[in-house]
Symmetry: C2
Subunit: 167 residues, 2 copies
């Protein structure tokens, strides 16, 4: 019954725009650092980091794509590049012949560890420098709340490839 305002008020707009600009600028800067330090794109770094973080050093393609908010075909492309560079290997999954298991190599870990310090540094300097300890905690809490909500909210056009017949 309480249909919200048809527009965002000043406070909301401010928060929204700030979010967009902060993430854009952060990503932009990080991207540059990664390219300089290790010749990696942001996505490639995310992939390596995800794999390196895994106990087994492996993940299925689809899980990777979901974790990075990325298209399947785009992931195939990037994984191909990483494989060519020798930073990951791809092998058919043992449990499911359809699935591909991507695994980070030693060379991949090496690149990761070479790039990481600078990466951390950028985040610190750009994102956390102007915030007090409590601010960081608060920001993290708020964003985590939003993230949980987003994950639980199905995309408006759910069922892309689901039922094709009728209805």
């Amino acid at each position: 019954m309480t249909d919200p305002q048809p527009h965002l008020d000043a406070v909301e707009l401010d928060a929204y725009f700030a979010l967009i600009e902060v993430s854009s600028l952060l990503r932009h800067t990080v991207e540059q650092q990664l390219k300089e330090a290790g010749g990696l794109s942001y996505v490639q770094f995310q992939l390596l980091a995800t794999l390196g973080d895994s106990p087994t050093g492996s993940h299925r393609m689809t899980d990777l794509a979901d974790g990075v908010v990325y298209s399947r075909s785009g992931l195939t492309y990037q994984a191909g590049l990483l494989e060519q560079a020798g930073l990951v290997t791809r092998a058919p999954s043992e449990e499911d012949e359809r699935g591909i298991t991507v695994t980070i190599t030693d060379a991949g870990r090496e690149v990761l560890s070479r790039v990481f310090p600078g990466h951390i540094d950028v985040i610190r300097q750009l994102l956390f420098a102007p915030l007090k300890r409590d601010d960081v905690t608060a920001l993290g809490g708020l964003l985590s709340t939003v993230r949980a909500h987003m994950r639980a909210t199905p995309p408006r056009s759910a069922a892309r490839r689901r039922r094709s017949a009728s209805s």
Copy 2:
């Protein structure tokens, strides 16, 4: 001298990852809505919105690029598309023959107003729904602080081709 910790602690990592994921998911969803509602890409929308927000309905190309955190050449491309679609016009600046003044057209405003409600709706549902009023205020405050800091912080590899500093 004061080289901070070589790594981010759990709280910081959490905040960082949450920020990235939230902005990615938000952008993804918004992008889809814009495409459905008005055939606009996110950048195109940002450009139109920026122009529509201006008192004169105009801006120079460079100002637009900066405001949207975008490459110059990419802006040229997008502006070309918008012009072809009749949503903006481009004309040489009167003060500086080098500059191009981009102006939103009535058709552009029309598209903007057609797309806006749905856009607002997505932001509300996805970003603000799980937050209380005070949370929104807090989030906006924190992000604004960070944004101001980022704007004031020159890119690490400052000045390839140096721009006129502020004023």
